[in-house]
């Protein structure tokens, strides 16, 4: 009798408990994925030229990134280190092309977890259309990599719940945290991607299913055309500001399917190896010249 009661109670609890993730599941995904989320620091050199006059400004910027390969390849949002998205948005909104904004990123540093050491990295490749950029940590000695793999991702569906992991900045000691959301729709143009609902994620970082499987990466995509209703002016600038997250501005936030992200990750892995080899050969050549000359 007692056993039955207990079993019945247990069953009842199971039935009554909500179907969504429990606290421990969230924490589990956070623990498992946090090591792969890094912080990237970069010096951005901004050159604004307007009617022949140019102005230079340099500033340091910080953003999260994700380790995508054990060799030390890091993926970040391209919009954080270039002005391309902004220029597309300006062009799309029909602003006169008198303002030319060129952003050059220099001097990349990667911080793992909340360590103090800053690891030098170089820019491997960018994909402006997909809004992704890739860095290669130069020296991975002593580091344990726990990359997120975008290969073999399951198919996602509208309505599916999502979890994403990110890190706060240095001021908060790089604390990792998760955010949630749902796939609220799908687009086919400009390309296949998922529309997302909720304050989920940081750009360039992976988005997971409830079971912790990678579904894709959060990016911005430029629409095929910009309607007049978007308009220029304060409204547009406000919509353009990140954090608004809405898709009614010149660029929208979407989840790029993992399969597509994987294609560019593979391309970047090859490119990173190429660049490393080239650079090593160049240094060796210079070294020889120095010794002989």
């Amino acid at each position: 009798m007692k056993n039955c009661f207990l079993t019945c109670a247990a069953l009842a609890l199971l039935l009554v408990a909500p179907a969504s993730l429990r606290a421990s599941d969230f924490a589990g995904i956070l623990d498992k994925t946090a090591p792969a989320i890094v912080t990237v620091k970069v010096v951005l050199k901004m050159e604004i030229s307007m009617m022949g006059q140019a102005q230079n400004e340099e500033s340091r910027s910080e953003m999260p990134g994700v380790v995508v390969d054990s060799s030390g390849l890091i993926m970040i949002s391209n919009a954080e280190i270039s002005s391309d998205r902004m220029q597309e948005a300006l062009a799309g909104a029909g602003l006169p092309g008198q303002v030319d904004l060129k952003v050059t990123p220099n001097d990349f540093k990667v911080i793992f977890g909340n360590e103090e050491k800053e690891h030098a990295a170089f820019l491997v490749a960018t994909d402006t259309k997909l809004d992704l950029a890739f860095l290669q940590v130069e020296n991975t000695e002593g580091l344990t990599m726990t990359p997120v793999s975008f290969a073999d991702a399951p198919k996602a569906a509208v309505g599916q719940s999502l979890v994403s992991i990110s890190r706060l900045k240095k001021g908060y000691d790089y604390a990792p945290y998760f955010t949630t959301g749902r796939i609220s729709g799908a687009i086919k143009k400009p390309r296949k991607a998922w529309i997302v609902d909720g304050s989920i994620g940081s750009y360039g970082l992976p988005v997971f299913s409830e079971d912790g499987a990678v579904l894709g990466v959060l990016v911005t995509l430029t629409p095929t055309t910009t309607e007049a209703s978007d308009g220029a002016g304060i409204g547009m600038l406000m919509r353009m500001m990140r954090g608004a997250g809405g898709n009614d501005g010149p660029v929208g936030t979407f989840i790029l399917p993992a399969k597509i992200a994987n294609r560019v990750i593979e391309q970047s892995k090859t490119k990173a190896a190429e660049l490393r080899k080239e650079h090593a050969e160049k240094k060796a050549a210079e070294g020889d010249a120095g010794a002989g000359g």
Binding site: A54, Q55, N56, A120, F122, L123, V124, A125, T126, D127, T128, K129, F134, E138, K189, P190, R191, T224, T225, I260, R263, V264, E266, Q267, S268, K271, A272, L275, R276, E278, H279, G290
Partner: protein, 685 residues
Amino acid sequence: MKKLTSWLVLWSVLIISPAWGQSASDALRRDIDFARSKVYPALVNISVVAQQYSGGRTRRAPGAGSGVIVSAGGHILTNFHVAGHTTRITCTLPNGERIGADVVAHDALTDLSVLKLRLEERTTSTEPLPFATLGNSDALSVGDYVLAMGNPLTLSSSLTLGVVSNTKRVFTDFTGTEISNQDLPEGERTGVFTRWIQHDALILPGNSGGPLVNLRGEVVGINELGGSGVGFAIPSNLTAKVLNQVMTFGEVRRGWIGVSVLPVEKLGEDRGALISSVVSGSPADKAGLMAGDRIVGMGDQPVNVRFFEEVPVFYQSIAEMVPNKPVRFRYVRDGEEHRTDVHVVRMERFVGDQHEIRELGLTVREITGPMALVRRMPTQDGVLVTGIRPGYPFEEARPRVRGGDIIVSFGGAPTPDIDSFFKAYESAKAKDDEEVEVALEFLRRDESLFTSVKLGEEEQSPRGGELPNAWLGAKTQVMTPAVAKAIGLEGRRGFRVTEVYPWTQAKAAGLQIGDVIVAVDDEELDSYRQQDTQDLRRAIEDFSIGEHIEFDIIRGGKEMALTIEMEETPAPSVKAKKEVQKDFEFAVREITFMDRVRYKFDKDQKGLLVIDSVSGGWANIAGLRVQDLIMRINDEEVGSIEDFKRVTEKLLEHRPSVVTIFVQRGHRTHFVFMEPVWNQVKRAN
């Protein structure tokens, strides 16, 4: 009656319109011809390469003006604002001869320059050089006829006629309470000693430096300013003083005591000159003179400055004092007359020369004694920063260095003047262009600051670019219902091929203009509206490079399949190899596949596309434009950046006087002749 009136009118017109007037105008015409004949042959067109320092670098621009030959030896008078700050001066004589000229001396204070023609360059004529004579400008009266002559373009000359409106013109500020001297672009004061001849002979822009001539054919002034129907010329008597000094000493020597004066009219006095300011540490200061004193005698001459027109004369008398000989000054202070001896010193140049150190992205100016005194700088030691160039080492120094700062040491070595600064820079540079950080000290007002600058090549990290996408070597149009109907494919959707690029996989697979692509990799293209235009491209971009993809097409009504290998998007122009030529200040890049397609170049066409021609740089002022395709430089073909580097190295070594660049500009070819002044191109080591 009507007829009579009209005849009367006619006759009266004939009588009144001077038979008298006719001979008067004839006489004037004869006088004009005479005056012209005496000066025209000596009129020269002066064309220069002007050099300005701005934004931390030198900027060059062509400039032009007029001048007049005043000696058989080829001395030319013109304005300083025409010939000053230039790197090359070429004069064209009325007979067409083009000869170079050298500067003998500049006198910014009067805005005059004396040049000398390189007579040895005369090849086409052995005639003696014509020259004009200076007349007596003090003999001019208001109402006298004067001619302004100028030579704005190479062979044409202009002559305008006017009358003297004022023989003693000075400029005051709009309140009429202070003489406002002109300031030339580099900061030199001018007009201090000048009482201009104001006239209404029209002055056109090319007339600067040209002569103002009286009807006797004598040069009575050098035209300096003008516009809106009024012209101002520097009187020939002042010019003669400058010219004599230059011919005798090679420079203009003046005495200086360090006072500024105002007319005494407002004091209710009728003699003397009111000292408005005394430069601290100057001879006047040392002699005890103070602002408020009224100078009534200098040497053995009384001083009378009642009106502003008399101020330049006062300054000129001081300028004519011999340095190091004390002069007895009598002055009135608090109603009492006093005497003192002022030890006149030589007037020194106020504004120091500027120099550019291109590798640092820095322009600096020498600090002269007067500059230090007047600007109350703590010391004359140091070099004054006048400009910092973005993107160059000095801009990266933190804390930042700004214009107005004075650099006093570089790499540990003191830099009291330009030469020591250059020396310090040379020794601070590492032997083989390795990167080295150099400390320097600079003054900013009352602060002394330290900063450092990184010299030498920066360690270049490798850097990747945009990832290439898969690409179809063809152009297409979306098949709208209208288009579909027109080609007999009503109801179908997809893309019609409009162009197939040569040398591509698409071409190799046999894709043709007119083919209609309806599916790619077994996925149908649901494209039939204008906004679907990018669908094909986007679908292809998702494939990997090297993949073989099946395209379902319709050709001539028949369905067929083509397998096309996905190739990389041809290198965009941003990826093309480029080279910035810092010495001649322009940049080029190799031509890409798309350039060849767009401009219909041959696959083998060699050339480099100009992507930047720095304004004011050597290539730019020679006429090299962005988008020109450089095919040959001094008869050597350039197709690659290697070629380019090799050819420009040779140029820098051999330094030919003219560099001939053969370009394709649009559908024509063109020659660009670059004539750099070689010792300006690279700071010689």
